[in-house]
Symmetry: C2
């Protein structure tokens, strides 16, 4: 353990979330408790800050600032999406040598875990004593070997709230705007879209249909689904993932389907929700509109899940604790140990196992119909939202007896 | 006053909001205190419920249900957008006669106030004793003679929160997605878009540019504005209204501008944000993306303004109180009587003065540059959001001195 003494660098990578700063706070607060860590540097704009030697001294930040990180969304150090070259890896090691950096923490998704793993490998090859620990983060919830990813619970909570409210909205004004499509983020996996199911309290509640990229979209079946819901309820609310693909594996807006919207056969540029709204209007003659909260859904702090915030801090804290204890080349994971009340602890997994691997929704979370999730998924996701959604009422609607003949 | 005794009907109209049910609750609770009101009927789907004689008995709802209305978004009675024919007005009066309805309350915007006014006129002509009072509602905040409209404060709070969070998001990942456009609702007025300004705490905070329909968009100036912000900050966040028009008065997606996006000259179908994202990519070579919360912004209960909820209840309650006191053909208004602490009372205005009139943002709320609002607007809007946004931190970012020569 003698070698494990020196400065630490921490960086944030990939798409921001509501709680990625909570992980930073957890790591910084824990690091300050260990004499082995002789300085805490933040790398600005992810790994780019090391390459550019553009780092800040986090020890000099005011304690109130560090404490306030867990209620401040997005990536306060700045982020990046950058694929490193061999020269970049060498450069990073040189910067680490120059500053006696012995600990590196990277908060990110599977790409970032790959970066962290390669950096650790290079350091080992060059016999530079470097401890590397990954801290998971992604609203996509697509990292393997962890029950779930910090960032997901908060985005899932926003999604459930937004779909519930937009669903009530369509229910009220369905005689004007009959169909609503809510487009939800997800790079290749439908975890966040699936969370729309948590909006439901009663069988006819929105969302009535859920489409995820794990199941290719059959357009005719989709239109039949929408028509059937509309015929039954007088409105239909659809939650679907931005990266939905057709049966040939093309994303919808680049597929042949999109061309169908335009009478001249020109493919439209809109996203999947907009394209499908066009098709619903054209083929079913129903008015359709879409909501696409975009980046709002991943960073909306006012609806953050308290469980998610707390777990994001925990994984940051545990990453540092493991690092000073000699663990390296690992990512911290979350392991669910109990339900009712929900309890989670942390574990560890080799970075190489996480690097560039995507965990998609498993079959038992998806209904055979291809347009919904299963109760098993709802059971999985419920606790991650950090408590039930605030209760809404419904009227009993006792009818007034008619008194006119018309 | 002797004649003013009988049943009441209440209906909800136009686009739902987070607090239109709070107005219903206020009216129902107040009505139950007056012996003159011998029955409380809710009309399903706005005025259509009367025409179809599709009404429910609100007195038979459980008290917990009525109490829960003020935390339940959207229009629980159902809404409509329907222009009445002369035959419809006659039909409504017949239904009212059949049920001895003597009080009619309509919660809605300027179209609904027109409907209520005409109905009152017809009743007067036919010597049918009917009291008609309007209850204001619209996230567009475009009703005249009232300081502001219930529904606006909550949608404004969501907008400020969403723009602040999406702004922090772009700030973090501006090296990838440099420009973000947030498209905000507004039928013909920019009040809700203007509320994006409440997201700012420091001079460089998002939104950096705000465009409202009160000022036609000059495309070249718009692109210059975006480029200038990007050059200074490395990213740019734009809040703009969905009904923005060009200098010829055309909505952007139907104007010549849109055609410019497509190499073949085909007009694109996207909304204004998507169209302008395309132009930013093509003309400035910057990556741009858009967020369009759509109906989520008008119904998102988790971010409702407590002031708005309370005022929505108040206008419902006051409408009933005025009606039983003999007032008719009026809409309840909100009158601001003090700042710090903010205080509001209610007033009355003739329905005819509100009917079909739109109040747009006045000049002194819009900066001469055409791309921002003034501090006077921010002062106007701040209290309506129901308290400051939760505090976020910023790092001081003490730089680590460089130690490498590269």
């Amino acid at each position: 353990m003698a070698g494990r003494k020196g400065r630490m660098v921490i960086g944030q990578s990939g798409g921001p979330t509501a709680v990625i700063n909570a992980s930073l706070a957890g790591a910084v607060l824990e690091a300050q408790r260990h004499a082995q860590i002789e300085g805490i540097y933040g790398s600005l704009e992810g790994i780019l800050g090391i390459i550019r030697e553009n780092m800040i001294d986090l020890v000099r930040e005011r304690p109130e600032t560090i404490a306030g990180l867990s209620s401040t969304p997005s990536a306060i150090l700045g982020s990046c999406r950058y694929k490193l070259t061999p020269a970049d890896f060498q450069r990073i090691l040189n910067v680490f040598r120059a500053h006696n950096v012995r600990f590196f923490f990277y908060i990110g998704g599977n790409d970032s875990m790959d970066t962290a793993h390669r950096l650790g490998q290079l350091a080992a090859e060059e016999k530079y004593d470097l401890t590397v620990v990954g801290i998971p983060k992604t609203v996509d919830n697509d990292l393997p070997y962890t029950d779930h990813c910090p960032g997901y619970g908060s985005a899932a909570r926003f999604t459930a709230l937004a779909v519930r409210d937009a669903g009530r909205d369509t229910e009220a004004i369905g005689n004007v705007d009959s169909v609503k499509i809510i487009e939800i983020m997800g790079r290749n996996a439908g975890w966040l879209t699936a969370a729309a199911a948590l909006a439901r309290e009663a069988p006819d509640d929105a969302p009535h249909l859920i489409y995820v990229p794990e199941r290719p979209l059959n357009l005719d079946r989709f239109l039949e689904d929408v028509q059937r819901v509309y015929d039954r309820l007088g409105h239909a609310v659809v939650a679907l993932c931005e990266t939905l693909r057709d049966e040939s594996g093309n994303v919808i807006e680049e597929s042949g389907l999109a061309a169908d919207v335009d009478a001249f056969g020109h493919p439209q540029r809109g996203g999947v929700a907009e394209t499908l709204c066009g098709l619903i209007k054209k083929r079913l003659g129903l008015k359709a509109r879409f909501d696409k909260a975009g980046t709002i859904q991943r960073s909306f702090m006012a609806a953050a899940s308290p469980v998610d915030v707390q777990e994001a801090m925990l994984v940051g804290e545990m990453a540092v604790r493991h690092a000073v204890a000699g663990v390296t080349d690992r990512m911290v994971t979350l392991e669910r140990i109990a339900e009712e009340p929900y309890q989670c602890t942390t574990g560890l997994v080799e970075l190489a196992k996480v690097a560039n691997v995507e965990k998609r929704l498993p079959d038992d979370f998806l209904s055979p119909s291809g347009n919904d999730v299963t109760p098993a998924f709802v059971d999985y996701a419920r606790s991650l939202l950090g408590g039930p959604l605030p209760p809404y009422v419904r009227l009993a609607k006792h009818p007034v007896p008619r008194r006119t003949a018309d």
